[in-house]
């Protein structure tokens, strides 16, 4: 995500919310999950990931709490809040609209 960060900022927030939908994850786990599901298209660097996580936390969409990783290291794991769940639903609808519109423009 080195390029077009401005354009993709909202996209990254949406991807992070979606990644946390099924359960809490720490930073690296979120980045790995995004890389896996997009087959490497989005390789989220810490420089984009952490601002996004903290932005979402400040908005109350996710909540960070200190837990232990599988290797018993102290990591900060993020959980989707009920408000974040609503935000995810809203952004998904919005994104579907945009994607459809783009497709219509490109195929016309």
């Amino acid at each position: 995500m080195a390029k077009s960060t401005e354009l993709l900022r909202g996209t990254l927030d949406l991807m992070v919310l979606k990644t946390l939908e099924l359960g809490p994850r720490h930073g690296l786990s979120v980045a790995e999950r995004i890389r896996q599901t997009t087959a490497g298209t989005f390789d989220v660097s810490p420089g984009s990931l952490f601002p996004a996580l903290h932005r979402l936390e400040q908005n109350g969409f996710i909540r960070g709490s200190w837990t232990q990783s599988a290797e018993r290291r102290r990591v900060k794991a993020y959980t989707l809040t009920p408000q974040g769940r609503r935000q995810l639903a809203a952004e998904k609808r919005e994104w579907a609209k945009v994607a459809l519109a783009m497709a219509q423009v490109l195929e016309s």
Binding site: P46, Q58, N59, R73, Q83
Partner: protein
């Protein structure tokens, strides 16, 4: 709920900045260690693992800076959004808003008026020359039941001729009378003053001519 989260983050941003910084350090260190662990699990040597992890992580300082900026931006966004939301709230209930504005106006107005009077009577110096050097001199007639009685004419004369404590001495006998000339009679405050009165205060009488000592 959302406003509460914002308020909390704003509070944290202002008050708990050093703690947030420390937590961020720890979070990034944890990320790094996890990254190293992944490389080790993939079969890299400890040295290689750390080097690769460092390369992938990029500049830690830049990451921290970016996160700090996101704290600031969301704090200001929050304030801006709250202001906008407040404005929309005011617009959507105009009756209530007008009532609130009128209440504030009356409250502020009355407080301002009271403060104006207090300011004029208590805090503003007397409009005379050297007000801090003006003294009132009374006769002590406590025995007769008047701890503060006006001086008699001779006493005043003695005071001005036989003492050197004062730069000048003037007398004023305040009273009130009912003035009836044309139309409505009027209750007015008056004062008989000695010729030295106006020069001592450093003011000019608005009307009438200045009585001179010889006119006494």
């Amino acid at each position: 709920m959302r406003a509460l989260a914002r308020l909390k983050s704003l509070w944290r941003g202002v008050v708990q900045r050093s703690r947030m910084d420390a937590e961020l350090d720890e979070e990034l260190a944890g990320y790094f260690e996890e990254l190293v662990a992944r490389k080790l699990a993939a079969g890299a040597s400890p040295d290689e693992a750390r080097r690769a992890a460092r390369r992938e992580m990029g500049g830690v300082q830049q990451v921290k800076q970016a996160v700090r900026e996101s704290w600031l931006v969301s704090s200001w966004d929050a304030v801006l959004q709250d202001v906008l939301q407040a404005w929309r709230g005011l617009r959507s209930t105009p009756g209530m808003s007008i009532l609130a504005v009128v209440t504030f106006a009356l409250g502020i107005g009355s407080v301002t008026a009271i403060l104006g009077v207090v300011q004029a009577t208590l805090f503003t110096p007397l409009p005379y020359r050297d007000p801090s050097r003006l003294l009132l001199v009374w006769a002590d007639l406590t025995a007769a039941g008047h701890p503060r009685a006006p001086l008699s004419g001779p006493e005043l004369h003695d005071l001005s001729c036989r003492t050197s404590s004062f730069e000048g001495v003037a007398g004023v006998w305040a009273n009130s009378i009912t003035l009836s000339h044309h139309g409505e009679p009027e209750f007015v405050r008056i004062g008989f003053v000695t010729p030295s009165f106006f020069p001592l205060l450093g003011v000019q009488p608005t009307a009438a001519q200045h009585a001179s000592r010889s006119a006494r």
